[in-house]
Amino acid sequence: MKYIRELLGLLKVNIRDYGMYIALIVIMITFSILTDGLFMSSRNISNLLDSAGYIAVLAVGVMLVIVIRHIDLSIGFLAGFLGAIAAILLMNHGVPVYIVIPIILILGICAGSITGFLVAKVGIPAFVATLAGWLIYRGAILMATEKTGTIIVDNDAFNAIGNGYIPSIAEVGGLHLLSLLVGLVGILFYIYSAISNRRNKIKYDFDVVSRPIFVLQLLFVSTIIGYITWLLAGYNGLSWTVVIILLVVFVYHFITTKTVLGRHIYAVGSNPEAAHLTGISVSKITFIVFGSMGMLAALSGILFTARLQSATTTAGTLFELDAIAAAFVGGVSAAGGVGKVTGAVIGAIVMATLTNGMNLMGVGIAPQYMIRGGILALAVIFDVMTRRQRA
């Protein structure tokens, strides 16, 4: 009884953080039931995660842009445009993949820096500056694909980024061995960091959950990681896309929570005047955040082009709005200063899950848009209500 009460109390206090995960699980279970388990099949989950990849990467970037109280509308077509450049370099100029990828990422950083310059130094509102970018990159992508139309990419190494899987080494009972190992390492890493984190907190007399609840928490998260690993291992294993998302999440999560740069970003977001009076260069932080946004847009473009195995004239259409929606579903605050990397990625997965599940059920495109819009509105309403409750 005591533990149930603690659990409920914990849920109540942290409802903002947990809400999204609970919503995701509820949505997944609902779809599993409605599709007679088809939704939870290995193949479908693998597909779902791959299709969420290029939006998830954008969502992480735009989440940080929103944290510092700006917005970026140009990222969709920027991703499309840079994807087209990648295709042209690969196909028309025969540049090898390992050179193309860094070039595209650097171009992304340059594009983002231009936006950063306009916003931070010239003082143009981000909405307008990036709307201009939206138009310019849209024109650029049309220009790049003008002569050829859709550019087919038949470079296997490149396409593997969007469609390939990590090597399996060996099959164990029809399961992908390396993927299982990666999952196992993930679980161990999670347990290790959770325990050391808890130890630290106890050392400094911080509030921690009671031991049984903590064990329950460990078991629950481990089971989920294990289950997803097992699902993926049952199909083709971990895809390169998932590996890239995990890498982006790891790096950005580390930067935002553990580094001086991360602290400065959140400081600028929660009170720019105070940050300025603390000696933080607000314009430098703005620069860096837009630069990182450009790089992630480039990565998104690479993922999308590789997944389609071609660069099309309309690539990137509405990506920016999907990414912004994902960031808001993931709990970023429009007032600035609040938002998590993990939240943005989960938000992207929630949105991809909705699309995927409704496609499986054969829901028409018209109701699909409405339902996704409803979910976005609900997520933000939930966010506002829980915030009011705490204040």
Binding site: V260, R263, S270, N271, H276, G279, I280
Partner: protein, 506 residues
Amino acid sequence: MSDYILEMNQITKEFPGVKALSNVNFKVERGEIHFLVGENGAGKSTLMKVLSGVYPYGSYEGDIIYNGNVQQFNKISDSVDVGIAIIYQELALFPDLSVYENIFVGNEIQNGGVLDWNKAIVESKKMLEKVGLKVNPETLIKDLGVGKQQLIEIAKALSKDVKLLILDEPTAALNEDDSENLLNLLKELKKQGITSIMISHKLKEVIAIADKATVLRDGETICTLDASKGEINEPTIIKNMVGREITDIYPKRVGNKIGDKILELSNWSAYDAQLGRHVAKNVDIHVKQGEIVGIAGLMGSGRTELALSIFGNAMNYKIQGDLFFEGLAIKFKHTSDAIKAGIAYVTEDRKGDGLFLLQDIKNNISIGNLKEISSNGVVNDNEEIRIADEYRESLGVKTPSIQQLVGNLSGGNQQKVSLGKWLFVGPKLLILDEPTRGIDVGAKFEIYTVMNELIDKGMSIIMISSELGEILGMSDRVYVMAEGKIKGEMSAEDANQEKIMELATQ
């Protein structure tokens, strides 16, 4: 029997924890110019907000009798309807609208819901004539100077057929000519039968045009002085303004060693391009090591602006003059330069531009000096917790844990966190802007004690304060500022409330 247009009887107004007004009596005769004077926080603005309905009937105690009738104003428009108009220090004009649109905003001339702009232009010309302003009514407000904008506010009030005009420090932002102009206009309006109440810190103005002056202090009416009885003169007003007893809440400092000059400003001026005027002009001051230098003055005298111009020119003023820090002439380009040199500024507005309210105590304390506790850009969490806990303890922040969000703390504790953040940076010169504003006596004492400890360790402090008691109780030396200029300097022994107030109200 006098003919009172306004009688405010036994007005008491309380805010959570503070009694802003206590049994205030305030009577204004028809057709006079009545000044309301007192220190910052004496209750002048609160009283006028009660009168104008900003604080609705029922949120205060006492009676407002206007034109012989008891009034119950529930909202501002109620007081406007009976002919009371209030003009605030921060003008309520729309900069991108024209003069005539501003005059008739909220009071539009209309024909069945359709605005009659032509008539508005004609009418506005009449109003402009009344206030003696020769501008085209179609000019945009932002193209006019502050002095003219002030007159347009008055024209706006006249268009509503005002009987009682209230002006809250109307000349604070004006230059001499514009002020003169405004005072003449008030005399002119008086002839037309309009009664004025004016809040002002400039005693010269009071002496020049007041028929009566009521002095408030700490939320109470001290006296009403009458010009016709020869009571309105500088010594009398100042004596009544400052009569507060200074209780001995200031911890003693024993023999602090005062060293060489650490900061010196010579002929230092700061020009604010947005306001279009100098916020600090020809300032010559210095601060020695181990010294607390008080900067006294009233709100809007340029103290904060001076501090910000020293602190890395945080507001991007156009600076003239020289700044010497530890004997070297330095030009700071950014706040970070000033911090690197060893200057810290604790803001007067801790919620607005001091703290990160949505973050916890730990993050707020460490944010200024993360370099100290990180390697290769990665913050050492344990070290951070240790440091934050250390400052929480040494400053006596009352909180269960350093994980507490700063937004949930009381004012006193927030101020301690603000201080802790800068102590962790470890400056040589600490600028404290209103260090004890809005915090209780106990927390004040703790902050004074911390200041003394810092001085003992060889730090230097500039303390900006509106509280004369604090200035006299804590400073080694005092500068008095008014209108962006240093009006005087005195040692702690020579300083007293009257002297400071006299300089501050010039």
